[in-house]
Symmetry: C2
Subunit: 464 residues, 2 copies
């Protein structure tokens, strides 16, 4: 079972059919005036009309890019260049896709200013808070239509109503084709392979009148917005599948919404020490994410793969960069042991039930070697014996939190545990664990104050 | 007949087969660790090995881009950034592809320095002249393997031998897959749809040890060189067709070389007032370009299209930018009435003969309304009657040259004709016409000196 459409969706049958036909009919250069070129141009024009209709804009506002990431990079940097007269400030939510964050880093490196707007525990921005981050010199605001890691839908329409003259870019990568798109945007980006189109096609829509100056060297293709030979066959396939998916979406979304509801309700009852994250109501129909305490996400994903389930994770352990998921960190939830399920069209109740059957066994299997079912907590320490210092220096997350969970019972209620750790992820995981387990996080101190030679000390008071 | 493979080649049957298979086997995200992701990764790795082998480098030196233009833009701007410590100077030949020239303009706009190295009348750089343009602060030199408009092969190996420590980027878009690639480069770029692969795949090869800093926001794909989801199916198809084309090339090149030789020899005998341009010996096997005096290129291309021939042109009249071809201008040949033939594999002698049959009629048909066969030259003017001033102000090229050709017979040998014109292309076309017709170009003066209210005066002495 492939439960990872939020990474990429298998090619839709309509896309495959359209691609095959367009490789015959639309392979020539649409900029040429001879017959095969004019034919490619007609197919390209028709595809642009289709995409514009689904997205809700004019055909001449659509440029096709080489993918969602290029659409975001060009959209963000091009809008910032085009609106320099407003100023050099960029605002975005803290849970945007990495392509937005990396574009923001580039803007910062070039002397711009950036504000990252915080989200609540469900990963959602507050429209008032977002609007308050906008300034007279804000050249661009960026807000995703829905989050790619936890499925939370953002209040784009509310933000659009409050943004005044500030241009707003909406990253619709996870929504386009699946759900109705918000209105009120100035620029919108999307990615065809997320909706069942082929790889290699993205969409950058720029509303008439929105200032835009390409950050790339000049080129006359795609109205000067996207350089290089236009990939007509893939664009034709992308448009055809967008239309097809949109037509199927209403029925499929209702089904997937129920299946995700089943996962959201059952996982916490089947698996101990688990937290389902993301907005339970204002969410995409097909995405659900949960985090398992004391679990190495990469190991769990490997076990699920062996059991026949392809799922993804925002966990530090599966990303090649080894940094914690910035989305989960911004939400203040655990960054370890994270599993994202994103269901393709056609997923059945039986598929989900099979997943729910194997998951508890696999999680238990991953946890088993950690000895969490081992001896009950030892005798409580004297209240005046001072804090219990746990030396987790040199141990990678989630080991520091596991150590904390295993040994907090050794101090009486009201007593303090100090975790010494030098894995940066502990800074997020210890407070998150405290939030889940109703323990009190007291703060951080230099490890040296508790006998450590490096790293930090994280102080926790046992309150239950 | 499609005679425009230098724009884009139809999909090679091997590419289509590989694409279809890879859409089934390689659609998943190659960065994922589950089975379908690992499978995509294996296909990607194999494709990289294949491309590296054909190009003549290591697999880990290859990054796949979204096309040739992106490969050039990243290659040029990334190498300039990476070699900032050398300095801010870029050198390139005057006949590079527009993607190189536009990247150079961007470099210039950002405060860099650029030298455009002139070419000879065949469009070829002199290695000594190119090397002399390199300086201690040259951060990058760019030279194409062969020219895209006239097929002239550049002396890359000779330039590479003289470049010292200056990094050299070779744009191999027209050569990769077709002919042996030169060695001695630091970076190399290519485009799959030029060799029969699908659109949407380019190659950026950066030799180990060559400094490179991506000009785009950070992204971990393709070794940090090309952001965004990797298009595995298209890359697999590109690699498969590269191998297939390379295997067929030796036989096909010999055939196409003969067919191009036939065109080069016959066109000047069949069509009056025509010049075949580009190096007659050091050339690609499949490209030939000629210019027809007194012909509007766009009209001729339209006639050829109606006769069933899809050909291209570097002429100002067919480009949407309405500027003369910079390649033909740099060569000092006519920029008007230009036709580029680029033969696909499989073209037969009969195809070429059919083209050679229709061409003279079509050219004659285009010229007919211009009245070139009308009255013989009028009586010669008195030698002391002063120059013959032809007022072509407000007339678009090629009209000023046509006027000159029709009326130069009105002055005696040794007499002078002054052409007043305000179309910028006249500055190139009048001297080029003089070169072809063995007349002496005397230079340019303000039109006001000869009674014009705008534009320039071009002075020609009749010497034959």
């Amino acid at each position: 079972m492939y439960f990872d459409v939020a990474s990429t969706a298998p090619l839709h049958p309509v896309a495959r059919q359209a691609l095959t036909a367009a490789l015959d009919e639309g392979w020539a250069d649409p900029a040429r005036l001879y017959r095969s070129g004019r034919q490619a141009r007609m197919l390209l024009d028709a595809a642009r009309e289709t995409v514009a209709e689904v997205i809700g804009c004019r055909a001449d506002e659509i440029a096709f890019t080489s993918g969602g990431t290029q659409a975001v990079q060009l959209g963000v940097l091009g809008a910032l260049r085009g609106n320099r007269r407003r100023g050099g400030h960029l605002a975005h939510s803290a849970v945007e896709h990495s392509s937005v964050l990396h574009s923001a880093e580039r803007h910062l490196a070039e002397g711009g200013e950036v504000t990252s707007v915080p989200v609540d525990r469900h990963g959602r921005v507050d429209p008032e808070v977002f609007a308050a981050a906008l300034r007279p010199d804000t050249a661009l605001a960026v807000l995703q239509s829905a989050n790619h890691e936890v499925g939370t839908v953002q209040p784009v329409a509310e933000v659009a109503a409050l943004r005044g003259e500030v241009p707003l870019l909406v990253d619709a990568a996870q929504s386009a084709g699946r759900v109705d798109l918000p209105t009120g945007w100035s620029l919108l980006t999307a990615s065809a392979h997320k909706w069942g189109g082929p790889a290699g096609v993205g969409v950058l829509a720029v509303r008439k009148g929105v200032r835009y100056v390409s950050p790339l060297p000049a080129d006359e293709r795609e109205a000067g917005r996207v350089p290089g030979f236009v990939n007509v066959p893939a664009i034709v396939a992308a448009a055809a599948s967008l239309r097809a998916v949109r037509a199927e979406a209403e029925r499929e979304n209702a089904r997937l919404h129920e299946l995700v509801e089943r996962i959201r309700a059952r996982v916490p009852r089947l698996v101990p020490e688990v937290e389902v994250v993301g907005d339970p109501v204002r969410r995409l129909p097909h995405i659900v994410t949960f985090s398992c305490l004391y679990v190495d996400g990469e190991v769990l994903l490997g076990e699920l793969d062996r059991a026949g389930f392809a799922v993804s994770s925002g966990s530090s352990c599966t990303s090649s960069t080894l940094t914690p998921s910035h989305v989960l960190a911004a939400m203040g939830v655990l960054t370890e042991g994270n599993v994202r399920i994103s269901l393709p069209f056609g997923t059945t109740g039986a598929d989900v039930d099979r997943f729910l059957t194997v998951l508890p066994e696999l999680v238990a299997g991953v946890r088993a070697p950690l000895g969490l079912d081992l001896p009950a907590p030892a005798a409580a320490r004297e209240p005046d014996g001072g804090p219990l210092v746990l030396d987790a220096l040199g141990k990678r997350c989630p080991l520091p939190v596991i150590e904390l969970a295993k040994r907090i019972g050794e101090v009486p209620v009201g007593g303090t545990v100090v975790v010494l750790a030098d894995d940066e992820a502990a800074r997020l995981d210890v407070p998150a664990w405290c939030g889940m387990r109703d323990q009190e996080y007291l703060g951080e101190a230099p490890a040296a104050e508790y006998g450590g030679d490096r790293g930090s000390a994280y102080l926790v008071r046992r309150v239950s």
